[in-house]
């Protein structure tokens, strides 16, 4: 079950500059864990010490914010896109 993880520019250096990763997983948690496995440092940026998503990181499956669905248990369809959208404040 391959899913696509889309990385914002702040996190792309952790993925060798790539904007998208193809990883295996059936839920958001599995997909992000797999992404962390191939991008050292990514897991620490996304998760706190308790293994929860950091609250300033919004994760979407397709167009839906996982915070309003099942969080890390939100299912990801085969070929689904998981987007990491960080809060930015620049003006």
């Amino acid at each position: 079950m391959t899913a696509v993880v889309r990385l914002p520019s702040q996190l792309r250096p952790l993925a060798g500059g790539r904007a998208e990763l193809e990883v295996e997983g059936r839920t958001v948690g599995e997909v992000l864990a797999a992404a962390g496995g191939v991008c050292p440092g990514l897991t620490e940026r996304l998760f706190d010490d308790a293994g929860q998503l950091r609250r300033f990181v919004n994760v979407f499956v397709a167009e839906e914010d996982v915070r309003f669905h099942s969080g890390l248990d939100t299912p990801v369809a085969p070929g689904g896109v998981v987007s990491i959208v960080p809060a930015v404040a620049g003006g």
Partner: protein, 391 residues
Amino acid sequence: MPVFRELFNQARAQIREIDAAGAEEVLGSALFLDVREPDEYEQGAIPGSVHIPRGNLELQVEGRVPDRSVPIVVYCAGGVRSAFAAKTLAELGYEDVTSLAGGFNGWKDAGRPWAVPRALSADQRNRYQRHLLLPEVGEAGQQKLLDAKVLLLGAGGLGSPAALYLAAAGVGTLGVVDMDVVDASNLQRQVLHNMDRIGLRKVDSARQTLEALNPDVRVVTYDTRLGADNVLDVISGYDVVVDGTDNFPTRYLLNDAALLARVPVVHGSIFRFEGQVTVFAPYDGPCYRCFVPEPPPPELAPSCSEAGVLGVLPGIIGSLQAMEAIKILLGLGDTLAGRLLAYDALEATFRTFRMQRDPACPACGPDAGELVIAEYDQFCMPHPKEAPALA
């Protein structure tokens, strides 16, 4: 060959007429269509009328009145031109058209309600001609823009293009908040300013540029740092706030104040090659805290002055903010309330994500309690009611 009187009688035989008393009963429900010449209309008309001179009727009516089932009362000065207009409207498929017998003159002489319509000047008609051609804007919409008040937070990267387009569009009052002076390093993206303005207060430079662009615009300047002590006073009375600030604490401060003041916020933010735009409609859609419950630590969210930004990016995002502001003012289309529009310049893609109101939001949720406006530290947490507000 028929003479005028025969043509007129033929037209009257094919239409329905309504007397002034009957027309007054449907004032407010029917659409009143004034087909007189502009100089007649400008001296007085039935309030709320749509004005299309008889000569332009066929050309313009479908754009201005797209719904052919809407009841229409068409009037001219005395009831002659309106009879011909009613016949034409029926031929165009309008289903429920009546001609006001006795016309506007009869209406006015009987003491029924009328008013001098607010008219654009000849210069304004020329300046805003491309807006007036849009049925969705038209003269009524342009008047709304001229009456509107938009506050720009920041006369920088985002505020510059937003302010320029809002001024060009004829938004009548533009407030500009900024405490900086123009620096040469601003000019790579802050298109309100120029070489001659280096060292000048940004709000003064903004005023010069905007007033030179459009004399219809009144620029109100706030050469101050937006803080807990002034945010409510500054934003109150504005119809829309365009948020072009550059840090998280100010964005949270604005969010809480905008909720209290019930002012919609058009949010824009940028980072290097990526930008985000959305609309926060108080209590009608998610607020900034629903979307970003906590700010990232400073080391994970460097500012543009630390991380850099391609100068065109705020031009694009700020222009989108101006568009959303005008849509809110005119009630046009679907705003970005409840949606985040994310632009990636390197990929040249726009993506939208759905945003929702958080039932547990500490600012706008049902259990949020009373909002207290106070200075925020780097954690930007809302203050409990008893917290003293810092001056």
